[in-house]
């Protein structure tokens, strides 16, 4: 990260006894999109509010282009924010909403021009005089984006930008949002609890849990090389089995079945580990881990089987009708990941 435009350095925020954000350090390159991903209560929204200036950190700094903005009030940060429920001003028209942050020095004509430009950007040209309440949810979301971008912010913050939309509308809005972000080329931080959203919008994704940064990296890195068990299970689907290290790059489960796996450094053979394996890495085979099919979820192209292996349940992706419910099967894994037993 040679050219990091936005840096969060050791950011910490407590609410009473609870540590909402714990010593968080992340950098965002100019023009790139960082997605903060985590379950509810992981501190991602607090982080966004610290960035916006609505909360003040107990420790740490927020630096943009070398300038420390930690103590600046929100109105002076030039951070645009799209709120989860959009927070459009109900008493103003669409045009007045978008014009709200556009400074007076620009003059009335320039202002109108900027509003038109922004509405055009989000594909709502000519909507200036509409009432906010007349708009659909997707349109409101786009107005919120236009309003946040209109004052030429240096950073754009998005709080669960798609959570308020119908599932059917979400994918289209997500594509539109990504194209707007690309065209404007603005450095963006977005918060989401949905992995799919984080992967689709974020150039890099930071996974948070209980206020701490678990891992930050590209979607590919997070999925293929999770560094913690939490990341491995939270990002994408995965099953967890207990096992032991069988040697470098190998684990043993259920006593005698050996699978290839990424093993952590410094764990000797025989050390107890949690083995995390993704459904698509498991195969039905003639030999391997024995188990009983308990459930099958058919999605059309593929089917997902729940297999009981000695009291633990794993999920297997395979072709439809690859195994009958109640049937005995054997499983092999192409690859898995092992994490020290007991670690989160």
């Amino acid at each position: 990260m040679a050219e990091s435009f936005l840096r969060l350095e050791g950011l910490t925020k407590r609410f009473g006894d609870r540590v909402a954000v714990d010593d968080l350090t992340v950098a965002v390159a100019r023009g790139s999109v960082l997605a903060l991903l985590g379950p509810s209560g992981s501190g991602k929204t607090t982080t966004l509010r610290l960035l916006a200036g609505f909360e003040r950190p107990d420790r740490g700094r927020i630096v943009v282009a070398g300038a420390d903005l930690t103590a600046r009030p929100p109105a002076e940060r030039r951070f645009g924010m799209v709120f989860q429920h959009y927070a459009l001003f109900p008493h103003l028209t669409v045009g007045e909403n978008v014009a709200f942050g556009v400074g007076r020095p620009e003059g009335e004509g320039d202002r109108r021009h900027r509003v038109a430009e922004m509405l055009e950007l989000v594909d709502l040209a000519g909507f200036e005089d509409r009432q906010v309440s007349e708009l659909s949810g997707g349109q409101q979301q786009r107005v919120a984006v236009a309003r946040a971008l209109a004052p030429h912010p240096q950073i754009l913050l998005l709080d669960e930008p798609l959570s308020n939309l119908d599932p059917g509308l979400r994918e289209r809005t997500r594509r539109e949002l990504r194209s707007v972000l690309r065209r404007v080329g603005i450095t963006t931080v977005l918060v989401t609890h949905e992995q799919e959203e984080a992967f689709a919008l974020g150039d890099r994704v930071a996974v948070l849990q209980e206020g701490r940064l678990e891992q930050v990296g590209s979607p590919f890195e997070l999925y293929e090389r999770p560094r913690t068990r939490f990341v491995a299970t939270f990002v994408g689907r995965a099953s967890v089995l207990s096992g032991v290290v069988a040697g470098a790059g190998r684990v043993r489960v259920a006593g005698d079945v050996e699978w290839p796996a990424d093993t952590p450094d410094g764990l000797a053979s025989g050390a107890a580990v949690s083995v995390v394996v993704r459904p698509e890495a498991l195969r039905f085979a003639d030999r391997g881990l024995p188990g009983t099919v308990t459930e099958c979820r058919y999605t059309g192209a593929r089917a997902y089987y729940l297999v009981d292996v000695g009291g633990q349940t794993v999920e297997v992706e395979a072709a439809a009708q690859a195994a009958p419910i109640g049937g005995t099967v054997h499983l092999t894994a192409e690859r898995a990941a092992a994490f020290p037993e007991g670690a989160a």
Binding site: A52, G53, F54, P74, A75, E76, G80, F89, F100
Partner: protein, 544 residues
Amino acid sequence: MRGRSRGVTLTLLLVWVVAYPLALVFLESVRGSEGWTAEYVVAFARDGGEWAVLWASLWISVVSVVLAALVGVPLAFVFERLDFPGRRVLGALIALPAVLPPLVGVIAFLFLYGESGFVARAVAILFGLDGPPWRLRGAGAILLVHAYSMYVYFYLFTRSGLARLDGSMLEAAQSLGAGTVATFRRVTLPLLRPQLAAAGLLTFMTALGSFSAPYIFGGGFRVMTTQIVASKLNGDIPRALVETAALAAVALVGLALLKRTEGARSVVAVGKGTPPAARVLARPLTRWGAAAVGWLFGAVLLLPHATLVVVSLVPAGTWTTQLLPPAYTLANYADLVTEPERLRPLANSLWMAGVATVAAVGISLWAGWLVVRRRAVLRRLIEWLLTVPWAVPGTVLAIALATAFSVRAPWVARWVFVGTLVILPLAYLVRNIPLVAGSVLAGFRQLDPSLDEAAASLGAGKWRTLARVTVPLLRPAILAGAALAFATASGDFVTSIVLYTFETRPIAIEILASLRQFDLGAAAAYGVVLMFFSAGAMLVGTRR
């Protein structure tokens, strides 16, 4: 924006105008010219007459609650549950006394049921009596007026409770085998309990502080409010102070007791539902029967106000012994604006109520911002100070302000306001700030805080956010509270009678003066003006 705000400035201001004067009443009632003394308190405690008056205030209030409930609750059921012609208009009209200044209701009552009112005249003529058939005097008259004007609290609260009731709960009860009576007793009534408790509390506090009715109709029968004013007018200030302290104590104890029972029993309905639709009465006979009951109720309740309008059209000195006034004229209204002596009280009330209302709005916005937005450290104290004037009878507030601001002692924050232009607007402000603050704070709580944050993230500073976002969004709440406060202040009688001077005499004082000179037309015309203010306030308050 840096650090936690405390709200010290606002708290000090509110303490100065609300808590400090009240505290001074208690303090000065145990202080004589020679320093601390229990002399006046002991004298009060030993005086059986004082105890009788305090007791009268209490029982009058309790009986008023019962009577008001007996009128208001059935009325609410009739108008909420039965559909009959004219239900909407009439239903709104009978809520009018909610915002009518008490004195206006009292004189309307006087013109209708008083010994020379329409009804008394009709009875006298009907039975060929020489004198008036009754004298409207004493506790009975006070209770009648209270029931007649305070039913509106039970009516409005019960209606709002019924409107919020989930119809499926009643259906559930019925499907579980409960009959109509059992459903009412075991489901409807318990669900309405919070509303009934709130209405009861409001009625009790209003009746305890009621001044106009006992003052006009009490005769020899005294309650504490009239007793205090009498002591004050007699120049027996120490006695007035002890009496004021006693009434304030009763009010605060009553408030605390009733608040506790209300809190313990409040029911939170689970889930949202739709209220049962008003039953459309199919059979023409019952339909017209219900309409007749509704209209009869409505007519009886609205008759005093109609009377007021009629009397306001009577030329001075023309109506003597006839049943109906022989002549009608608009001259009384013309006099209000053309005669400087008549215009003066009108102008006084308008500007004093206006200033008080504007100040109340300003303070309420300030308080809302501190309490709801900034969650200031002192927010509980601020909210408490904004509610207290509501719980304290107007007479107590007036005496408290008269005590605090009749002495020049800047080192203890006391200046002479009594006798100046400042005191009445200040009294109106203190007395009505709970109305405005209640409405504005509720509005603030409903505002999405992210709207403020959105404005801030778009570069708007504190004041621009307030002017462009907060105030426009709060406008309905501000208007509703301000309209109510203005109507109440412009018709204020209870604090004015203690604090007015000839120069600042407001409408209510002039109504009293007109009554004393038997200029009924002028008194009624003022009353009608106040009635229109109230109706306007209600219109603003209920518009969405």
